[in-house]
Amino acid sequence: MQSSISLSTPQSHSSLTAIARSNYKFEPSSIAPSSNKPLNIRFCGLRREALAFSFPQPKRCELQRVAVSGRGRSKKVSASLSDNGGPPKSFDYDLVIIGAGVGGHGAALHAVEKGLKTAIIEGDVVGGTCVNRGCVPSKALLAVSGRMRELQNEHHLKALGLQVSAAGYDRQGVADHANNLASKIRNNLTNSMKALGVDILTGFGTVLGPQKVKYGKVGFTDNVITAKDIIIATGSIPFVPQGIEVDGKTVITSDHALKLEFVPDWIVIVGSGYIGLEFSDVYTALGSEVTFIEALDQLMPGFDPEIGKLAQRILINPRKIDYHTGVFATKITPAKDGKPVIIELIDAKTKEPKDTLEVDAALIATGRAPFTNGLGLENINVVTQRGFVPVDERMRVIDADGNLVPHLYCIGDANGKMMLAHAASAQGISVVEQVTGSDHVLNHLSIPAACFTHPEISMVGLTEPQAREKAEKEGFEISIAKTSFKANTKALAENEGEGLAKLIYRSDNGEILGVHIFGLHAADLIHEASNAIALGTRVQDIKFAVHAHPTLSEVLDELFKSAKVNNAHVTSPFREPVAV
């Protein structure tokens, strides 16, 4: 086995660099600064390509010595990789992950695939926020709200020739759907890790020192384990600003809201980001009226402004939603003794009291705070910034003096780079690649994001203002291609012609800078664009790709085809066409 590995290495190395050369997205900074690290540069998405073989499920002890990059995992290598140069010790585990959420889980699965002896520590429930209090239950609720909205939209159905009488819902049934789904996914996650031989350790994990972790349940004795590499993946919790009293019944966070214990007549949502927006979709579909409180002057500040405007026109104006922008909610008192929830608003800039609202419920959706307290970071001289663990582009933790802490990584919401589940997972995989000898830098601009309202919003890359700023700074021209869903056959067949897709690209070389979609199935459609950005595909190449007709993907086809690149005659890295 050893010999076959060493043979393949040079091959893989060269093929990778060949692609790298023609790939505009290649970042010179990704070449490892220290000469110790092997020079196999991998781009996200290409990692398995070079390897023509896959190994069967090996025994744990054997695996420790085998690394994919072709270098035997000898003790010499590990010694050269660590800073202190002290005598190598044997560890309980190759990799210990603190936190069994989506980030931790993704890292664990990949680690096992790479042959690492892995343990994962979880103090609460496996699956973390995403499965139990986030993505999974919220999508279940949004599925229900999407259907309700459709069934209640008599006008819309009539245009299709349908009529539905009295669509209704049972709140408990809806809540059960969400809960059952969360349980199911939680079990799947747990079983998948168990089946692969990952040790799931229950308890609250703390870093004791370099390569040493302690874990234990409250009231029980702690266990100390050693690990060659440690990944912190403790995630985040809903952030509740000062002055807001959460009682879990009338003043709630997303954690409570997803249990759907009651549907209020009038709910105020503090924060108009994607979490607030998704909840407004759910509540208005189930019959509530919503008021947004937004500190900035614009609703949905994180989105591309053009998409934001369209989203406001379709997701807010026609629905029973109103809003106050440029205000803070300084004090929120839960309802008691028959009095309603009272919200005091002040002007965001002048801090003068502006208004007082009396409503049935308030949902706090002002963002998420990292969950890094009690991690023992002070034991390794790491200071958090607003709670976030400072890391570099390779997820390596940086200590208070600006040095890299060896063998310690932090992924997911805890580092604050991109607080999305799939970003955490991708970061975890990137770290595992690195500890198994292949350098890897994740390109965050190729990570898509989606908001699951009806219609959906999705994006990848830069917004228009960000792209323009970059263009000015670096001295290139950008172009924008836009198309409406009204021109798409499938969208019209579904009578869902409301929507917009937007492509921001460099007109000189065809590099895709950003794609934004608002419309039916936007969250699924974005991946063509995110893949293109990840692989460095240029507009002039992708416009020849064929899309099935009639599908919504033709919206993107339109975008690519309508883009005009100036020097399109530059040779593209086309593979030889396959005769069929």
Binding site: D265, W266, E289, V290, T291, K309, R313, K320, I321, D322, K339, P340, D355, T356, E358, D360, T483, S484, K486, A487
Partner: protein, 432 residues
Amino acid sequence: MAHLLNTTFIPTPSPSLRRHATTLSPLTQIIPTQKTQVQSKIREIFMPALSSTMTEGKIVSWVKSEGDKLAKGESVVVVESDKADMDVETFYDGYLAAIIVEDGNSAPVGSAIAFLAETEDEIAQAKSKASTSSSPSDPSSSPTSPPVEVTAGDSSSVGQQVVEKTVSKVMVSSSHPAADGGKRIVASPYAKKLAKELKVDLSGVLGSGPMGRIVAKDIEAAAATASAVVAEAPQPGGGSISVAKTPAGSGIELGTAVPFTTMQGAVSRNMVESLAVPTFRVGYTITTDALDALYKKIKSKGVTMTALLAKATALALVKHPVVNSSCRDGKSFMYNSSINIAVAVAIDSGLITPVLRDADKVDIYTLSRKWKELVDKARAKQLQPHEYTTDRKISVVLDWMIRDLRGTVGGSQSIFSGIPHHAESGCCWMIQ
């Protein structure tokens, strides 16, 4: 050029438009050169034709608001076309003085959708121009006008049902629990939206929601009473109140187009909709000696033929309930729970059908009195919504002049029959 600018409708020159449409560049009114003398300081911004077949356009949203400074070429409004939403640019520098057609509303191609003032001083002038020119065009353009309709039919939208809700709760209130001594108005988001749409003043509405907040149905109720109390759109001509259906005729300029009043619009709409209703005609000759005798007897007590006929109809319906049923879903009879008979009354330039409720149960004298009351109210335009609209009813048209009138009916539930009367008066029954 000035005369072009001042008219509300310009037949846009099509060749240049087509050219613009194919290149998909933003459009505005086509003024060929910019070297024209500035004859009027208030310019109109027109609804552009975004395709050669477009006759009407819907405003998606105003990019600029009233009072904003506009630069030539800046996009001012987004108009919906069948392919995409188009940004419409302004051809002139100036200030967006007044918006005539709001977001979500439509306007015919070429009609003015806003006024642009050259200088800030003229903004006020433009605004006043906008308010005077918008009132006659209101009935035809605005789809969000209050849902008060004088309708003989039940074919109008579900929104009509709203109007029927009891209106008695609306009063001017200066304090209620949530209002904090009248300083704050607590209204739900949807209530606020509706209030804006229906032009209801929130401070005059009493809230019936939890903790006394104003909810949507309070606004709808307020809107309904407000418009029932206020007189209908002005009628042309003198106030001659005649029973005859022939229009007043005076004061109408020949060769002009006068827009319908709300009532006329409703009647016309219902007439057209009635054409879609399946009908069949039955003719039956009867001798009315018994009827005439009865009439002679109780005429002195104030009972009119109308009341008699209404009562007779009601009693007949008791025996034949199927005539008092409707069919909405194409497969079942919806039997009405009560027998309500509406009788048409001609009023100035229009028609209204006050309803006699439970005509079978009420005695003939009460019925007659009630009828008199309703007619007086109708003529004084003081009918409450619940007095002229109801879900299911039978309508009777009486026309003393016409011997054999086959009227038409409006409504999705209609059975029609016409019966000429063998007497000096002709009468025709219209059953809806």
